[in-house]
Symmetry: D2
């Protein structure tokens, strides 16, 4: 795993923990999703196009886009904590901006507010369409820190 758009490096221990947690997520495996970037408060994930993830129109299904937004936002939240903390999604909203066609779907999430109880993140989603990135969606997500 490499960090494609890091702004601030993240502790190697946190990187390892996030990476291992991601590998246990079966839905991400089902989609063929990879963790392709990690920074402090930032996550990038990438899903290659495959027939089952597309609508009959050839666009990535909104449910796949939403799942990637949710996962990327949640992992972005965990990168800010040294301890093994997990976050539950309280709610999110996603706007679809352009037709989601292309060879892969990329989710880039960043934390915009990390509170004591509540964390808010935004995830921007892109497709790679003939070598150019097109923004296909943006999501605002609210998480609650879960006591372990």
């Amino acid at each position: 795993m490499e960090s494609i758009h890091p702004q601030e490096p993240v502790d190697p221990q946190i990187k390892k923990r996030v990476s291992e947690s991601f590998d246990r997520q079966r839905l991400m495996k089902l989609y063929g999703a990879k963790l392709t970037g990690i920074g402090r408060g930032q996550i990038e994930m990438t899903v290659p196009s495959s027939e089952t993830l597309l609508r009959t129109s050839g666009n990535f299904h909104g449910g796949v886009i939403a799942a990637m937004a949710d996962s990327s936002g949640g992992y972005a939240a965990t990168t800010l904590h040294a301890e093994d903390v997990s976050f539950l999604t309280i709610e999110f909203k996603v706007n679809f901006l352009n037709q989601a066609r292309g060879s892969k779907l990329i989710a880039r999430a960043r934390v915009i507010k990390a509170g004591r109880t509540i964390t808010v993140a935004q995830s921007d989603l892109y497709t790679d369409y003939n070598g150019a990135e097109i923004q296909v969606a943006t999501a605002l997500l609210t998480f609650i820190k879960e006591k372990k």
Copy 2:
């Protein structure tokens, strides 16, 4: 396909069209989703629990819940039209209300406003947990009628 919670019957032609369209959706097939109810402006879909759809916590993944909300809302919109119309999701918001564990996930959508261009639907999501239904999420969704 039977209508589990119909309030107003839907034209058999529309029922056939929705059913055939649903059967072409590969993501729904991947999830094992079935169309279990249809009425005027209403759709019910059911997904049996399976390992790939669950988080490591044993709850249905938020991305699966969101996909079911999106699909059920979109199909609910199409039931109001005699012609073969399709709807694009502009945006949606989903609130997670309870832990999503149980033997199946049920999405029940209804149109709350069918405008000339814009249709708004709400989808309520439940799990069957030891024989009792628990509401696990609610979503508000906005669609735009697509010209064919």
Copy 3:
């Protein structure tokens, strides 16, 4: 104050507390809003039409509708607690469904999930237009219980 659409009566002490708190809200006073109904987990508020609350189109301003959704949802949350608890709005989403014209704007909120930390409410908004109620908006709102 009378309860217009009560489903379950609320304790008189709670009613008194909510009513007094409402009377201290200056924005509600500025709008001319009244508390017109209260039940367990339910609030109704009404605002008479006045020039300053309308867009130049003659419709109630979306910001006024949003404010009424927010206030009604927050007060609905407090009706479920015997102690003097307050709720902060984490986020909300509002869909505008029809032109908001008429002699008054009515917000009817109900709690759909009261958790230990997080409460979710829905507020439906109507105008009285020539004696008929028209639903002009619906909002989903998330609150966090504030420690006092």
Copy 4:
């Protein structure tokens, strides 16, 4: 009116039209809101703190924040059109990030997608608190171009 954060200058005719339209908005006048910046696809508005706009806690009321988000997003959409076009708000979602206290409330909106029918904008809201800007909210808004 000056442009505080312009990225791309806007045509003087459009600036004049937006400014005149803003001056007709009575709710903005009631709040004491001023148009303090305009660029291509961008609007900034500022509201000075005043007792009626605050909760009893001393924070700007969420309804005022929502109204500023809505207005700034809608005007940002109009800056992209030479003709006198207006936009109706279909829906929006706002997340509250920090306590909204300070001497003024600033809304900065930018269009993130201008489609043929649908326009999506984001509005970030700040307070000036002892000379420092604090982000108090962010909103995602969906508009539909209105035929005149």
